[in-house]
């Protein structure tokens, strides 16, 4: 399988404070990676930096996607290349409906006009997968959505945009058991339709139960301290991080 994302010796931070120190990581098509670590370990910072958040400045190292160096590219260009980030706290945007927003984003990414009728049909099917009431399509993006609906709307965007690489930043946190099931179903659907790669940031076993995990990376203080296969994720969830963090 060909390599999709390669992170080489990446250091990044905010205003003079380095948060990631020399991270290296490689993700190939069709793989599922899990990022674990305690709060503040740098998981979300890494996810946002891969997406191109202007909040973080890369001070060293490079990010390659499909063989091209994207370290200095803006987030919209990365999105067009096929990188997707599901936000921990999706932003409310009044004045544009979820449906219009997705159509707009798809048109920006593909550079082609999308017929409204076809768009609605596809959207409806995706919403059904996620047991979302279709009325949400005509509501302003995330405005007044509950925490659970916001997370579902993120997965809906994943299904509609079909990126090559999806980074899910604690998409399962704060959700009840049923909602986690629905999110898992959405991820499964994404796997089925796109031979993409996943990077999942999570504290939760539930979301991993249905997935085959290829690689687990444990972060501590901005460094990868332990790597392994799916079994490592299971061990951490059963026994905690301490053992691995202590090894540093």
């Amino acid at each position: 399988m060909s390599e999709l994302l390669r992170i080489q010796n990446l250091s990044a931070g905010i205003e003079g404070k380095e948060l990631l120190h020399g991270i290296s990581l490689s993700v190939s098509e069709g793989e599922t990676h899990v990022l674990m670590g305690q709060n503040g370990a740098g998981k979300s910072t890494l996810g946002s930096t891969i997406m191109g958040s202007p909040e973080y400045t890369v001070t060293d190292g490079n990010i390659y996607f499909d063989g091209e160096n994207i370290t200095n590219e803006s987030a919209d260009k990365r999105a067009k290349r096929g990188i997707f980030l599901s936000f921990q706290n999706p932003i409310e945007i009044p004045g544009i409906t979820l449906s219009e927003f997705l159509r707009n984003a798809l048109e920006q990414q593909t550079g082609m006009r999308i017929k409204l009728w076809e768009h609605k049909k596809k959207l409806k099917a995706a919403m059904e997968t996620l047991s979302m009431d279709f009325s949400y399509a005509e509501r302003d993006l995330n405005v007044g959505f509950s925490g659970g609906e916001k997370k579902k709307a993120e997965i809906l965007q994943l299904l509609m945009l079909q990126p090559k690489l999806a980074i899910l930043d604690e998409t399962d946190s704060g959700l009840d058991v049923d909602a986690v099931k629905i999110v898992s179903k959405g991820i499964e659907e994404y796997r089925k339709t796109v031979n993409g790669a996943l990077i999942i940031i999570t504290h939760n076993t539930k979301i991993l139960e249905e997935l085959h995990v290829d690689c687990t990376h444990i972060l501590s203080n901005g460094r990868i301290v332990k790597e392994g296969d799916g079994q490592l994720a299971a061990d951490v969830l059963a026994n905690g991080f301490e053992k691995y963090i202590g090894e540093v």
């Binding site: 997406m51 919209d76 067009k80 997707f84 980030l85 932003i91 004045g95 920006q108 945009l161």
Partner: protein, 469 residues
């Protein structure tokens, strides 16, 4: 790598064309009893109006300059030409309007708009109305829509005008009301009889073409019991180096259980002083709905006032202000609750960019007799950069505790988080910003007449790239 983006200014090319005028048509600049008499002679004012103008002039001279808001030091009243002789008499036939005036209005979409969606149209060019027309079926229903001056000379309306003219906004109100009383010219008179509902709007368009001039139109609207009207007012002027002055006056009488919707889109050039006074008196069960978009002018003072004078009367004010470079827009709304069970709702948005300044003032007064009244004021401001400014000045004066008053103000900037969120979905930074600004203005722009809402969305969308600041 930092790239500063900006929401562009309103494209003014549509408004900035102009025609030269003949110097002989100008009355001398400045304000003196001689000039006032000359205006009265030009117009053939009835005696009461001659006296009214001169009395207003006296009040003007003894009233101090306004000082509470934006600076108007750049306005030299001695240089303002208060009256410009019309090139044309009032016409009801568009074809007989002089060519250059006609082409001005045609570029602005009048009377095209009339043909498409209006019950009637009035167009004022400099000091005088040049065109007025209503659809036959509207006229048959007893609705009167004409210029105020011919109405004043028509014996059927003379008395009603005399008994209402500047009674709501007396010349004593403030210096520019006094000035208006002395030199007013042009404007519209609308009368809607009992229980007549006008389903389609009437529109007046005011265009100030001459440089260094003032426009002082007077709008008087009277709705009888149970009537309904939507009136749209649009204003623009081309850009000159000399400052221009707009000191119009709007008086609205809303009868028992009547509803008046008054929409204004003001897009004066960026060197205009827009010192406008608008007031509505609302009777029992009646309703005034103001929709106000302020985009142009150098300095604006604009605070439409609603006096809720009968039980159950209500007022709704929806406004948006967009202040760009060199603009100081001081806007807001005033409400007086002067009867039981009255209600008011104010909802405004303001956007400032490129050093523009917007100030929102609200003044809600609940008199002792207004028990059971409700008022809600909500204003939000968005600053698009670090050099722009936004202020909110709410005043609440409740003389009874048996009322329910709420006020909410929010001032903010576009959050970087929101921009990143949109960009992470493939939307470029410029479009992301425009999307957020449009969203911010959304619930107000929905209230604007359609063609203006489209114009507003376009101006927000007009781009914005590359300029490093």
């Amino acid at each position: 790598m930092s790239r500063k983006t900006q929401v562009s200014d309103i494209d003014r090319s549509l408004y900035d064309f102009r025609y030269e005028e003949d110097a002989n048509d100008f009355l001398e600049s400045g304000i003196s009893p001689e000039i006032i008499r000359e205006i009265s002679d030009e117009k053939g004012d009835p005696d009461w109006m001659r006296a009214f103008r001169l009395k207003s002039l006296e009040i003007y001279h003894r009233t101090p300059m306004v000082h509470w808001g934006a600076s108007i030091d750049g306005l030299n009243l001695d240089n303002i030409v208060t009256y410009i002789r019309p090139k044309s008499r009032m016409n009801t036939n568009w074809d007989s309007v002089p060519e250059e005036i006609k082409s001005t209005f045609e570029k602005l979409g009048i009377p095209q708009a009339e043909r498409e969606s209006l019950a009637g149209v009035g167009a004022q060019y400099d000091s005088e109305l040049v065109y007025h027309n209503v659809r036959a079926e509207v006229a048959q229903s007893g609705v009167i829509y004409t210029d105020l001056e011919s109405a004043m000379h028509d014996e059927r309306y003379a008395e009603i005008i005399r008994s209402h003219f500047m009674k709501l906004v007396p010349p004593e109100d403030h210096k520019f009301a006094a000035l208006h009383g002395a030199v007013w010219s042009g404007g519209s008179f609308v009368y809607v009889p009992k229980n007549v509902h006008l389903e389609i709007p009437l529109q007046s368009y005011f265009r100030l073409n001459a440089k260094g001039a003032g426009q002082f139109e007077h709008t008087l609207i009277i709705l009888e019991e149970g009537a309904y009207l939507h009136f749209i007012e649009g204003c623009s002027a081309p850009k000159y180096y000399e400052a221009g002055l707009h000191a119009g006056c709007v008086e609205l009488y809303v009868g028992k259980n009547a509803t008046l919707r008054y929409s204004t889109i003001e897009n004066w050039s960026k060197n205009m002083y827009n010192l406008n006074t608008k007031r509505a008196l609302v009777d029992e069960g009646g309703k005034i709905e103001w929709v106000s978009g302020s985009f142009g002018s150098h300095v604006s003072y604009l605070y439409p006032m609603s006096i809720l004078n009968g039980r159950g009367a209500s007022a709704e004010f929806t406004g948006i202000t967009f202040a760009g470079e060199g603009q100081d827009l001081d806007t807001g709304a005033k409400i007086v609750h002067n009867a039981p069970d009255t209600s008011s709702y104010i909802n405004t948005k303001s956007i400032s960019k490129s050093g523009g300044k917007s100030t929102f003032r609200s003044a809600v007064t609940v008199n002792e007799n207004a028990v059971g009244s409700k008022s809600s004021v909500n204003c939000e401001s968005l600053m698009l950069d670090r050099i722009s400014r936004s202020d909110t000045v709410p005043v609440i004066d409740a003389k009874t505790d048996q009322c329910d008053i709420g006020h909410e103000a929010k001032i903010g900037r576009i959050s970087n988080e929101a921009i990143f969120y949109l960009m992470a979905r493939g939307i470029c930074e410029e479009e992301a910003r425009a999307m957020i600004v449009r969203g911010f203005a959304d619930n107000v722009s929905k209230e604007l007449p359609l063609e203006y809402a489209v114009e507003m969305n376009n101006l927000i969308g007009l781009e914005m790239h590359g300029s490093v600041g």
